[in-house]
Structure formats: C-alpha cells, structure tokens
Symmetry: C2
Subunit: 340 residues, 2 copies
C-alpha cells in the first residue's frame, strides 16, 4: 500500500514535474495599465481591484508587506505544459545524451523505446518505465552537474510543435502579473509539482524569482565531504512530491506563512487555493483556464495533463477568479509581442 | 539499522532541537563601530575586513548581493543552550500543562518522571523516553495551536538558573553581527537543529529574521480540508533532522544557493561550514567558542550538549575565525547593556 502510494506519487511527480523558460522580458510597470497584455475583462479588473484594496493603508483589508505572499504554480500556469510536461522531454533528451555511456540501454526498456523514438512502446512501459527514466536522468549526479545539464538542454532544444525553445513558451500576461505584484511589495513564489532543481537551473531570470523562492518536488540527496571539495549528490529516491496536499504542506514547511494570493491551473493546485482562501487576510485565488486551442491548447475536465475539474467547480462555487485564456489575453507568449 | 539511525537522529533532534529569544533590541548600526559589544579583537577585525572586502565593487572578492547568503546556527550560537536545549524545557513544561487531560501519565514513564520533577529517572528513560516526550508535546495539534503554545511558554517561563525568560538569553554581539551583515545586504538565515515551528513562533522579532528564512528540524504534517476551514496537523513522526549533513542538504533544498558566511558553535555545524568554505566566492566561517564560565557556560570538546571538537580542529587547521566568548565579547546578553 505504501509502495503503491509512492508509485502513484512518482507518476504524479513525473506528470506534474515540469517547468519554465528564458525570455528576459524586463517589463516596466506601466502606471496607467500594469497589465497591458490583458484585455479589459473581469479577471483583470478583479486583480487590480484586489491589489489596490489590500495595499491601501486606509482600507480595512490592508495587508502588511511581510504577509504579502503570492504563490504560483508553474506548468500550465506560467508556461505551457503540452503535449507533455516539458521536464519529461528533458528526461527523454537526457537518455539520448547519456546513451553513449550506457550501451545496455539499446536492449533495455524503457530506454530502448526512447532511443528508437517509439512513443507507443514508451507509453506501454507505463508508470514503472517513467520512474526508471526520471531516476536514470535526474539522479546519480551532483547538484552542479544536474544544473549544467538543464542549462545546456534549455539553451539547445526546441519544443516539438511550437518550434521555439521551451523557455519561450512562458505566458506574457503572467510575467506582467508577477511584476505587478512585486511592484506592490508581494513576495512571489513558485510552488510547482515540477522538480525544484530543474526549475532553479533557469527560471530565475525569466520570472524574476530567486532560487530561494522556488518550491518544487525533489529527490533525496546526500552530502559528501570529498576530501575538502564537498558535493551534494542526487539520489534515485523520491524526497517530496509538491502537488495537491503537498503544496500547502511545502508552503508551511518552507515559507511558514499562509499565502494571500495563489494562482494555478489544475486540480493539483486546489489544496493550495483552499489553504490561501482560509487566510485571515483578504485573499485572491486565480485559476488559468486553458481555452485557446489556436494560440495555445484547450483542455480542462478530461485532460490527462493539467486536469481542471474539481478546481473549476470550487472556483465557480466560491467566486474565485478564472482566466479565460482565449478571451482574456491579448497575447499568450512574449514572442507574439515582437510580431505585433 | 535504519531504525537505529532514526532513533539516533531523533535524539540528536531533541538534543539539538532548541531555539531563540525575545529581546527587541532595535540596534542602529554605528557607522564608526558596527559591532560595539565586541572588544577590539582578531575575530571582530576579521569579520569587518571580510565584509569590507566582499562588498567593495572594486575588489576581486566582490560578491553580488543575491549571493550574499549568511547562515547561522541557533542554539549556543545566537542564544544559550545550557543546562539543556531550551526546547527540551518547553517539552517538559508542555507535559505538565497537558497532564490534566492525561491522568494516565501519573503512572506512565517518562511522563511520571517529568510530573514528579525526577530528573534522575528521566535520564534513565533514555532516548526512547525523550522521543515520547517530544512526540507527545509537539504533535497532535495544528500549526496554529502549536505556535500559540510556544508563544505562551516563552512569555511566561523563566530559565532555571539565569532566572530570566529564555528569550532574554540571546547574545548581544551576535544580534549586532546579524544587523551588520543585513546592513551590508547579506540575507541572514537561521539553520538550526531546533524545531523550525518552535523557532518561528517567536524568533522573528528578536533576530530580525522572517519566518521564510528560518530552517530547522521538523516532524511530518498532514493537510485536512475540514469542510472549508483547512488546517495543517502535526504528526508524531520525524520528517527531517537539520543537523550535521542535514544542514547543507537543507540549505540546498530550501535556499538552493551555497552560503558565503556561516556561523555555528558545535560539531553539528561542521558540514555547513565545510559546504560554505567550498563556495567559489570568498567565504567566512565563524565558530563561537564557549569559554566564559562566569557570564555564560564554558564547554567544548567533551560536552554532552554543543560538543565542539572536530570543528575546533578544522577551524584551527583551515584558519576559520573562532570567537573566544570570555575575551572577545564585552557583554553576552542584552540585559547586561542596561545594567552597564
């Protein structure tokens, strides 16, 4: 039973285990319009009204600066997550890069399927195969080595259908929202099911969020003194799954404060939203609803990745703010700004 | 074997599991002397020379602000830890407060020993007894309830020999050092073997360190939706021991950056020091050596609590800075300032 939970968790970890991007869009806050890539829609009005209210010292809803904790999911919330979590593409590409040192993989599943680009066979390998992929590619190296692998991958690899590097697939309107909140003294955090060390390797510059404000899933590590050149080695064993219940738990463990603002896009973010909604200060819960099949992807209640079902029900019931991507956002990605 | 390690770890957790104080000494940095409670000794000169060097943009040792991570042990480093870690006194006092709801404890060890103030018998109960005490007093409540217990305890309880509340037993020279580093754009963290939620309940105001910059040991937690009034419940099972190897591991997990400045007082801090010493930026390792048997306590190589043996050897060998408390500090506690 315990193992079953672990396996299920690992799968969630893999599926929910993706991350970010590398577009240095140094936005200046536009004083008259802090969210220029948003249409004049309800979601935008609600965000601006909330920020104006809770930062107004005259308001009964004023929130002291040190309590202005804002937590953002990453996959499907700050960058895209289709046709699979981008971290899975990283694992696949790592297998290919590592294959030269692993001749045995040519005849060993799930590696054989990856090396032969046989996605049907890879699917057949199921949960167990995915675990093997993640552990083979994410563990057995030092924190420094792993960081270098991710940095190299993000700099050299393109998304299979969008044909731009993965870090270009961040959401321009969300970059503006992060900037807007920080300009109003909110401390912005990422709280993602994706791997924390995967994200830390490259998202800080894109989102303006320092390493210490990135929370995610992680594998175990061990410290080796190594004759005066100490290293931290990544071990092929799960340490924490930062998804569902794990999100409020990790927020409490690491931040130690309840957020006043949370943003997500799937049922995996629901407990974080519920926790935020229970803040004694006025709080704001924001769901990104993927409705744009042309510019991005359209999916919700029945999606394998980024399923939004219970979360949408609770958002409707409790009056949380829901972004309709197709209708609410003028552009999705920063590179559309350049085209325009 | 695994259990033996867990038990040993728990004991370390208990012994190393203490914390802080409540003296609001709002120090202004004295421009001519940033460390006024320090004598003009080598340790002080080395600290000031280091800070001047790494904050000087003209220096080859200049450190960018975002990399100025400074990590401090708590027990025996920022406040006293004798005759036992203060968190153990909290556990003992909690048992007494909870006894009314636990009539069975009158006949049940180790609770019986605590209720009868029979410290000899409590010692005989050994590791297993200590584990029972910690779990009975630290788990089975919500994060909010636990915080309230700690806050109440620190406000109403006095140290057994110093006869002041525990939060008065912080080190004035270390408060000045924390302030001095922050004035030079270092981000100050606590990285303690003590319980993170115990510390967060009251140390923020004393040290000027927000909740999210406090790392420590912790027990497991679970999230309960509770019909729209979600709570996080503390579970009687160890989650992480933030001591020895655990310190660099927790720093990497939570901060994701290697410190440039670390301060501790025992062998439990040695791995954090070693990790810091391996920074590519110029780093500073500072040991507090308890040499003052009159104003505080004198102990090092053979001490049961706060043993400093291997750490002292490595400090001497590698030229790390060692504070001689008796000689280097004009005052130990803030209340001595008022007397003077």
């Amino acid at each position: 039973m315990k193992n079953a939970i672990k396996i299920t968790s690992l799968i969630l970890f893999i599926f929910f285990t993706l991350t970010s991007c590398n577009q240095k869009s140094k936005l200046e806050i536009n004083e008259t319009d802090p969210l220029p890539s948003w249409n004049e829609v309800e979601s935008k009005k609600e965000i601006v009204a909330y920020v104006n209210d809770v930062t107004n010292t005259e308001s009964e809803n004023f929130i002291p600066i040190k309590e202005r904790i804002a937590t953002f999911d990453n996959d499907g919330n700050l960058w895209s997550e289709q046709p699979a979590y981008f971290q899975l593409f990283f694992a696949i590409d790592r297998v290919k890069a590592m294959a030269i040192d692993h001749p045995e993989w040519k005849d060993q599943q799930p590696f054989k399927a990856v090396l032969e680009d046989d996605m049907e066979e890879l699917k057949k390998q199921g949960e167990h195969g995915l675990i093997q992929l993640v552990m083979a590619t994410h563990a057995g190296n030092t924190t420094e080595e792993f960081k270098a692998y991710v940095k190299d991958w993000i700099a050299t690899t393109k998304h299979p259908t969008k044909n731009v590097s993965y870090d270009k697939l961040v959401y321009q309107p969300m970059l503006e929202l992060l900037q807007y909140l920080r300009a109003n003294d909110f401390k912005t955090y990422i709280v993602s099911g994706g791997g924390v060390d995967f994200m830390r390797a490259f998202v800080t510059e894109i989102y303006g969020i320092p390493e210490e404000q990135i929370l995610g899933s992680r594998i175990k590590t061990k410290f080796e003194y190594n004759n005066g050149n100490p290293k931290i080695v990544r071990v092929a064993e799960l340490d924490f799954i930062d998804d569902k219940d794990g999100k409020p738990l990790n927020i409490q463990k690491i931040i130690g404060k309840k957020p006043v603002f949370s943003s997500g896009n799937s049922d995996g973010d629901l407990q974080m939203m519920q926790w935020t909604a229970s803040n004694k200060y006025k709080s704001f819960m924001l769901y990104v609803h993927h409705t744009d099949s042309i510019r991005e992807w359209a999916y919700d209640r029945n999606s394998h990745i980024g399923k939004l079902d219970k979360g949408l029900d609770q958002a409707n019931k409790d009056g949380w703010t829901v972004i309709d991507m197709e209708n609410d956002w003028k552009v999705i990605y920063p590179f559309e700004l350049i085209k325009n």
